[in-house]
Amino acid sequence: MNLRRFILIGVPYLWLLALFLVPFLIVLKIALSDIALARPPYMPQLDLSAGWEGIRSFFAALDFENFAFLTTDDLYWKAYLSSLEIAVVSTVITLLVGYPMAYGMARAATEWRPTLLMLVILPFWTSFLIRVYAWMGILSGEGVLNQFLIWTGLISEPLTILNTNLAVYIGIVYTYLPFMILPIYAALEKMDDSLLEAAEDLGCSRTKAFWLVTIPLSKSGIIAGCFLVFIPAIGEFVIPSLLGGSGTLMIGKVLWEEFFSNRDWPVASAVAIILLLILIIPIILFQRNEQKQREAGG
């Protein structure tokens, strides 16, 4: 193997090793240690100056009791389940909203497509945090939405949207919509229009042709979009803490509280490790889908 190739492959691996695997091992180590009133707030510390003896005593002190603790309090598994539910539901809503948009973009006149694409990407020019704050202004009791609805006479009392799960769904769908639209658009845009004409020519109605040709051919985009929304949504922290209420239970919030309110780093780390394991399953499925697509395309 020549040097150039070695460097080309080596750099991303080194990147992953330094910025993913090493931090992961550190978090895993903390998850296996015990809480302590110290700085950093856990025991044991790895004392390399004590030599071999130090390393042995370090490993001897590690145990799984933080993971065991997660099973004793139903807060944790409820938070995991609730996060899963919110992530699944918002992924489905994002798909239902995003697919027609991507479809419309792909069928729009060629000269309009760059503009439409630009409009999808445009929100990223504003900080994510500011956009979520803006939603607080829109959804609150005296917010723009309620004022508008009262003005039109549709309602007489302001609706309570902010600090409910509904606001969390709105926030997640809004934030992650571009991640759904872009891969689906990419898949639809590649599609040859004559395929739909062929389907019609062979006896399909327009609707039937959509289900038999368009949907299967955009499957890779749908799957990619769903994972791109689902994976960040499940660990989402900012949106539920700003838009959600006290009843909104999401694992990201639990994690934050363990780390910063309770200063229980070992339990927080254990929560993070479990979350990662939950996420790794869909990530592997996603990778597999990509692989299959590549093989089919090649």
């Binding site: 040859d192 062929a198 020519d201």
Partner: protein, 373 residues
């Protein structure tokens, strides 16, 4: 004569399968088809031939149902097809890009149209197998379109469009994506399949050789109009206009003025040259401008002055060697270039004529065609 010649267009009792009646199609300001009338008969292999943008594809798309005429009617078996959507027409189309469904296997692609009908599973499967045999694709039934070659894809597209046994099959540049050798084989295969199935084929092509090879009749189109509709041999030997003569094959065109006596015409075309003697069934007024068209293979090239109705002297400027044929570009004293073609029945080393040679061109008085326009 025991065998009847297939020529329903000459039989006044024959009912055409397709009739275009004063069809016009406009896209905005652009007139793609201009007041066009045409009859196509059952079991014909009909070719629409013309340069790109001449409206041939628009005609095909109107037959398939993807476009409707702006005015005029199209009848299929005597019925106006304008209100019938594409999925309800007994017409199938083979697309230029083949438009095979990439997510379906060859088998499922062929079965796609059949599944939209109400045939039983058994019937569908039998029909698909039949189509696979017809197009010699049995071995590839389980493959996906991207796993087979271009020629095989072309056959899948053909099998898929034939599976529903349409009254009319439309082929849009069906061989455009194939290389020259494969295209020739496939042309004969197409004719064979057309004959076996008895389906009426309408083929769109810009390749005149392809149209000549496969078609029973050829329609030469330009700018939304039909220029001439006739059998390949009539189109080639008796074109009605310079456009057709020039579009189909190679041709020498000489402009001049006619003086007619009976069916013989003398065309004076250049100072100091003998008039060209030709034969025509048309009538030309004395001095009427006309075009004399003669195919290069009908012009004989010799080193000695031959005895013929028309003899011209010139110098060889260029030789295009095509293997089986050679085309000589000969410059006449007044600067006119003439092409003469000979079959290379001898090997190259024995050939008598080369560059810069003084040669004689000759042709009989029936070899060329006189054209008014």
């Amino acid at each position: 004569m025991s065998q009847k010649v297939f020529a329903p267009w000459d039989d006044p009792n024959e009912k055409p399968l397709i009739q275009f009646k004063g069809v016009t199609k406009r896209f905005g300001d652009f007139t793609a088809i201009d007041d066009l009338s045409l009859d196509i008969y059952a079991q014909e292999f009909f070719a629409l031939l013309g340069p790109s943008g001449c409206g041939k594809t628009t005609m095909m798309r109107m037959l398939a149902g993807f476009e409707n005429p702006t005015s005029g009617t199209i009848l299929l078996s005597g019925q106006d097809i304008a209100p019938v959507p594409p999925n309800k027409r007994a017409v199938n189309m083979m697309f230029q890009s083949y438009a095979l469904f990439p997510h379906l296997s060859v088998w499922d692609n062929i079965a796609f149209g059949l599944r939209r009908g109400n045939g039983s599973k058994q019937e569908i499967s039998e029909r698909v197998e039949e189509m696979l045999r017809l197009t010699r694709l049995e071995k590839f039934a389980k493959r996906k379109p991207h796993q087979i070659s271009g020629g095989q894809r072309q056959r899948v597209a053909l099998a898929r469009s034939l599976a529903k046994a349409p009254k009319l099959l439309l082929l849009d540049e069906p061989l455009g994506a194939l290389d020259a050798k494969l295209r020739q084989d496939t042309q004969f295969e197409l004719m064979d399949i057309q004959e076996k199935t008895g389906t009426t084929f309408v083929i769109v092509t810009h390749d005149q050789e392809e149209a000549m090879t496969v078609a029973s009749r050829v329609a030469v189109m330009d700018e939304g109009r039909l220029i001439q509709v006739a059998t390949p041999s009539v189109i080639y030997e008796a074109p009605e206009s310079v456009y057709v003569a020039d579009f189909i094959g190679d041709v020498n065109i000489i402009e001049g003025s006619a003086s007619q006596s009976g069916d013989k015409v003398e065309i004076s075309w250049a100072e100091g040259e003998m008039p060209i003697r030709g034969t025509t069934a048309k009538t030309f007024a004395p001095g009427q401008p006309c075009h004399f068209a003669i195919r290069p293979e009908k012009v004989t090239i010799t080193t000695e002055r031959p005895d013929s109705a028309n003899v011209l002297q010139g110098k060889v400027i260029d030789i295009a060697y095509l293997g089986n044929l050679s085309t000589y570009h000969v410059k006449l004293p007044n600067g006119t270039m003439m092409k003469a073609q000979t079959a290379n029945t001898r090997r190259l080393a024995n050939r008598g004529i080369t560059w810069e040679d003084d040669v004689w061109l000759s042709f009989t008085d029936t070899a060329g065609v006189l054209l008014e326009r």
